[in-house]
């Protein structure tokens, strides 16, 4: 094998215009005309499958009917009633595996109503018209609730609790609220600082205080919170990442994909960001796709995603996979990383072993090796919970994640949890919003009993 001597990682690969073009809205919002044409396609189904498929049970036929009836602001209110992050979910939901997958027009014609884009049309219109906040707070209850983590689960929970008149303090480790909406989603899905606009929108309800730079286990403890507050909601996400467990993992150019995405999201000037000429992304989820896509959009010439199983096993939706492929990214299946070639402290290549399922269905290596040259290697093989701050609090875990009941209550009577940090479920923004909402209802009920 020949490995080039120099490690080609640099910034300024593109013209200024290319950066703007590449990182603009990947799915431009529907115009007024497009929205009306699309809304007219909705049949206003009874017991609509789309509504059932939505983790937050948004009344989709009703919000689309309101668009048809030229009431986009009312449409947005219908959305926000079930999902206060309807704006972000309209951008990031894998609608092709949720509402749009079961749309009767998908059944009828293979062309579902573009529910996600219509939802965005309604919520964007609401924001653009600077409407007053669609909810009002109930009379103060005097109850205080701590929410840990200002991501989708935490903010959703905080908002719902605030409407009931409770006072919420949200503790957030990072500088900004928003969680993965702010730090973890490809930037072409949420342009123009939408994540922060949405946080501001949510906070308009009042009664929510966010304390940034407060990490659980470092600045605050669960014991403290459960003593000082009437209830606690944990929406701490998955702060860790899986390692490859290979020699050379600390070499220059071997990077956690989530860090790459977070840096990119916070970058003032994308042209300053370095990217390799040849990038390999290891993993099969949305993070892998987002990292690969953004490497490509930053000017990487060759981007390859490698995944240890088959296409059908990838967590990234088929739609996202196709998006990557359309953008010139190669996805290679059935190969697992076995070694990193490092020279002068920097990664040069990844060696992978081809895999297959044996007779018992277990993933095994075939012995055949493949080497892919790389200037950068992004690890996107899963995020991990951090159980340390939970130790000693009598919260049951399940494979490191928090076990909750259907009301998102933990085994600790004063503590609820939701989002990616809890066991089970899909790690989707919309699922986190639902967790927060369900937990808030349960907390409210418990506190007012």
């Amino acid at each position: 094998m020949t490995v080039s001597e120099t490690n080609d990682v640099k910034a300024h690969r593109l013209s200024a215009d290319d950066y703007i073009e590449n990182f603009s809205d990947i799915h431009p919002p529907l115009t007024h005309h497009e929205a009306l044409v699309e809304a007219d396609r909705c049949y206003f189904c009874y017991d609509a499958p789309c509504m059932t498929a939505c983790p937050t049970s948004i009344d989709i036929p009703m919000f689309i009917r309101k668009i048809q009836a030229d009431n986009p602001v009312g449409s947005a209110k219908t959305i926000f009633e079930q999902n206060i992050m309807g704006g972000m979910c309209a951008r990031v939901c894998p609608t092709e595996t949720l509402c749009e997958e079961v749309c009767v027009r998908e059944v009828a014609e293979g062309k579902p109503v573009k529910i996600g884009l219509l939802q965005r049309y309604a919520t964007d219109t609401f924001m653009e018209r600077e409407q007053p906040h669609p909810f009002t707070r109930a009379a103060p209850t005097g109850k205080k609730i701590a929410v840990v983590g200002a991501g989708p689960a935490g903010l959703s929970c905080a908002h719902r609790l605030a409407t009931y008149g409770h006072d919420i303090t949200v503790f957030e480790a990072r500088e900004k609220a928003g969680g993965l909406n702010e730090y973890g989603i490809a930037s072409y899905k949420t342009t123009n600082d939408f994540a922060q606009d949405e946080v501001d929108f949510i906070l308009q309800i009042g009664g929510i205080t966010i304390e940034n730079g407060k990490a659980l286990g470092r600045d605050i403890t669960l014991d403290q919170l459960s003593a000082e507050f009437d209830a606690v909601f944990l929406g701490v996400g998955l702060p860790g990442v899986n390692a490859l467990g290979l020699e050379g993992e600390n070499a220059d150019g071997v990077i956690d994909a989530v860090d790459f995405i977070a840096v990119l999201r916070q970058a003032e000037d994308l042209s300053q960001l370095e990217v390799g000429r040849r990038v390999v992304v290891i993993g099969g989820g949305m993070t892998a796709i987002d990292a690969a896509m953004q490497s490509k959009l930053l000017g990487a010439e060759e981007v390859t995603i490698t995944y240890r199983r088959g296409q059908e096993h990838m967590n990234a939706s088929l739609y996202e996979q196709e998006l990557a492929q359309t953008n010139g990214i190669t996805i290679r299946h059935w190969m697992m990383p076995k070694g990193l070639a490092v020279s002068n402290g920097a990664v040069k290549a990844v060696t992978l072993e081809k895999t297959e399922l044996d007779a018992s269905g277990k993933l095994v290596g075939t012995g055949e090796m493949v080497t892919i040259e790389a200037d950068q290697v992004f690890k996107a093989i899963g995020q991990t919970p951090d159980p340390a701050p939970l130790a000693g609090c009598a919260i049951e875990l399940e494979k490191g994640r928090i076990r909750v009941d259907e009301h998102r209550r933990t085994s600790h009577s004063k503590i609820w949890a939701g989002g990616d940090c809890v066991a089970g479920g899909e790690d989707l923004t919309v699922a986190s919003v639902e967790d927060g909402k369900v937990a808030a209802e349960s907390i409210h009920k418990a506190l007012m009993a």
Partner: protein
């Protein structure tokens, strides 16, 4: 290939598709484009008396209602008769008729309701070489305020009187265009016939306010903050037109009176329906104003294809075939039983049949069977009303199937193959008892 040619009052046209008297037929330019596109005839936009022509508003003249995807379903207008000089119109009619001898060219006329006015214009129209005249007794807006249009059409005696003048002062065939803005269309039709008219055409537009502008609280179209009612037409009025045509076709007093059918004709099928109810030609306006003249190709070819498929060689072969089947409700067979059937392969599971039946009708369609969304008709509740068929978005997914054997599970009564109607039904206090 079916023969689409028509002979209506001796006026021949290569197909039954005429453009109605309206903006598309206001001048030679448009009419010649229509003939080039294949229209069988035109009724020239209504001529007024000599002298200064009428004036139109300079603001919007039209309003509309739309279906999904902004398909125009109903159009409303406040435009008056031609606002061009009579001399110009007569000259153009003469020229166009010369250039297009095989097409029907009818002049629509509306002048004040006095003999002198009609006597003055009729010979001038006859001189153009036009094939016939159509008396505009229909327009419900503007001109009616001046005692013309529907103001005449609403008074059968006036209709008869003017028709008589026209027959007296002109050799041309006379078509009386009727207004639907009356309670019983048979009376004006009978009056037209009594006056010697050769035919009637209907319907003209329906008095309407198409919408209200909620920002300035005025009818649409709005002229400087005010609106006035207009005339409504387009696909939405077709059912009203069909009924009125049928009423005239089956009225013993007017049965056989030639009819030119007007009202919401959009496709060949609409035209075939008017013809089946007795019309000799159809007149089209809104469809052309929505899509342009080219639609006549679809209409003519569609009608021809359907006639070929059904084995009708000429228009006359199916003209009026539906008239004997239009009857009064009291004669409908109460022993005819149908049940809705949902084709599960075609069903896309939108559930609209269920909720329509459940909320508003007879609770005869399931929504859930064995824990699965499933829509199926319960024969023991189904009255056969057809609502589900009409709300289903998929063509032919739900159909009405006649029960010909066994017992109707809803009523528990065996299917009776004999015809029985309300006139002899025991619940009818007026029922005629069969002789002992």
């Amino acid at each position: 290939m079916a023969d689409l040619s028509t002979n209506f009052l001796g006026i021949r046209s290569p197909n039954p598709f005429w453009l109605a008297s309206a903006p598309p037929t206001d001048k030679a330019y448009n009419v010649e484009r229509a003939f080039e596109a294949g229209w069988g005839g035109v009724v020239w936009k209504t001529l007024g008396e000599a002298g200064p022509p009428v004036v139109n508003v300079n603001g919007p003249r039209y309003g509309a209602i739309w279906g999904p995807d902004r398909r125009l379903l109903g159009l409303n207008n406040i435009e008056l008769i031609t606002d061009r000089d009579l001399e110009v119109n007569l000259r153009e009619i003469t020229e166009v008729k010369k250039r297009w001898p095989d097409r029907a060219l009818i002049a629509s006329i509306m002048v004040p309701c006095d003999e002198e006015s009609w006597k003055a214009i009729l010979p001038r129209v006859e001189d153009t070489g036009a094939d016939g005249i159509e008396l505009n007794f229909g327009c419900p807006h503007g001109m009616s305020e001046r005692g013309m249009g529907s103001a005449v059409g609403q008074v059968p005696e006036y209709i008869q009187m003017v028709a008589e003048w026209c027959k007296h002062y002109s050799k041309l065939p006379v078509i009386v265009k009727l207004t639907p803005n009356i309670t019983d269309i048979r009376y004006p039709a009978r009056a037209a016939k009594a006056g010697g008219a050769d035919a009637v055409s209907l319907i003209n537009t329906i008095s309407s306010i198409v919408s209200v502008d909620l920002d300035n609280f005025a009818p649409v179209p709005t002229i400087d903050g005010k609106g006035s009612h207009g005339g409504y037409c387009g696909p939405a009025v077709k059912p009203i037109a069909l009924n009125m045509v049928a009423e005239i076709a089956r009225d013993p007093e007017t049965h056989g009176l030639p009819i030119s059918g007007i009202g919401g004709v959009q496709t060949w099928r609409d035209a075939a329906e008017f013809i089946a109810l007795g019309c000799g030609t159809v007149q089209v306006c809104t469809a052309a104003m929505t899509y342009g003249f080219k639609i006549v190709e679809e209409m003519a070819e569609g009608l021809s294809d359907w006639m070929d498929e059904k084995g009708y060689a000429t228009i006359a072969d199916f003209q009026g075939r539906a008239v004997p089947n239009v009857t009064d409700w009291q004669y409908l067979n109460l022993n005819y039983v149908t049940k809705a059937r949902i084709d599960q392969d075609l069903c896309i599971k939108c559930g609209r049949c269920h909720i329509a039946c459940e909320d508003t009708s007879h609770q005869a369609i399931t929504s859930m069977v064995d824990g699965q969304r499933h829509f199926e008709v319960m024969d023991d509740e189904c009255v056969g009303c057809n609502l589900c068929v009409n709300v289903c978005p998929v063509d032919d997914c739900i159909t009405m199937v006649e029960m010909t054997e066994g017992t109707d599970p809803r009523t528990g009564k065996p299917i009776d193959h004999d015809y029985a109607n309300w006139t002899s039904h025991p619940n009818n206090p007026m029922s005629k008892q069969a002789a002992e």
